[in-house]
């Protein structure tokens, strides 16, 4: 079970904030592709500049394995406090 989280404008675009995946794709890029196939607007937003992916609370640059990942989050550019 993998918890998938969207923050900021990403959850406004998707219309959801959190989802539980029984079987997450094996990699981050595969997850992003699957989300883009389901929702083109979200796919475009996830590919946009400054969007970070966080796997189990660690920022990931590039692709990453999601095998055993408990939580994946997509963060739009941080707007600060």
């Amino acid at each position: 079970m993998t918890r998938l989280l969207l923050f900021g404008r990403l959850h406004d675009i998707a219309g959801w904030r959190e989802r539980r995946l029984d079987a997450a794709p094996a990699t981050l890029f595969a997850l992003r592709d699957a989300l883009a196939r389901e929702d083109a607007a979200l796919g475009e937003a996830l590919a946009g500049p400054g969007v970070h992916a966080v796997v189990d609370q660690i920022i990931v640059r590039g692709d990453a394995s999601l095998v055993g990942a408990a939580e994946v989050a997509f963060l739009p550019p941080m707007s600060g406090g």
Binding site: F7, R9, Q57, A73, S79
Partner: protein
């Protein structure tokens, strides 16, 4: 060192009183309190959102780096999340040091970092609806001057 995200109103005076208590070797406590501005009615409420758990860790790393850089004795960050009305405190930052210059500079540094690099996303609610606020160029420049100072 303490970092807290608060879903309930924060009381800057009480937090500062607590932070200043029992400090026989501290000569200076500098603090910054950020309030929500109404912008002549444009902002009816501000709604910062955060990634709880992750955000505290990121901010704690920023604070730990400031403690080391400015040789602080202690630091405090309390940040509101959720819907906040004009005039309410959105954040308080405090730094304790033996002397004033380090405390003032650390407070300024932490404020700049939190304004542009902390994992918050702010939604503004106004008469024309809601919008997400991005950091301004000035916010990024304010934070970048501390990067340059370390080169």
């Amino acid at each position: 060192m303490s970092v807290t995200l608060s879903k309930t109103p924060i009381a800057p005076g009480a937090l500062l009183d607590g932070f200043c208590a029992n400090r026989s070797e501290t000569g200076a406590v500098a603090s910054f309190t950020g309030l929500v501005r109404a912008e002549q009615g444009v902002t009816q409420a501000l709604e910062p959102e955060s990634y709880e758990g992750f955000a505290e860790k990121q901010i704690e790393a920023m604070v730990a780096s400031a403690v080391e850089r400015f040789s602080l004795q202690d630091a405090l960050v309390v940040h509101r999340i959720g819907r906040i009305g004009p005039g309410e405190a959105v954040r308080i930052i405090a730094a304790a040091a033996p002397h004033r210059k380090a405390a003032l500079e650390a407070c300024d540094h932490l404020t700049d970092y939190l304004k542009s690099r902390a994992p918050f996303w702010k939604k503004e609610h106004g008469p024309d609806g809601e919008r997400w606020i991005e950091p301004t160029i000035a916010d990024h420049q304010d934070a970048a001057r501390w990067d340059e100072a370390t080169k």
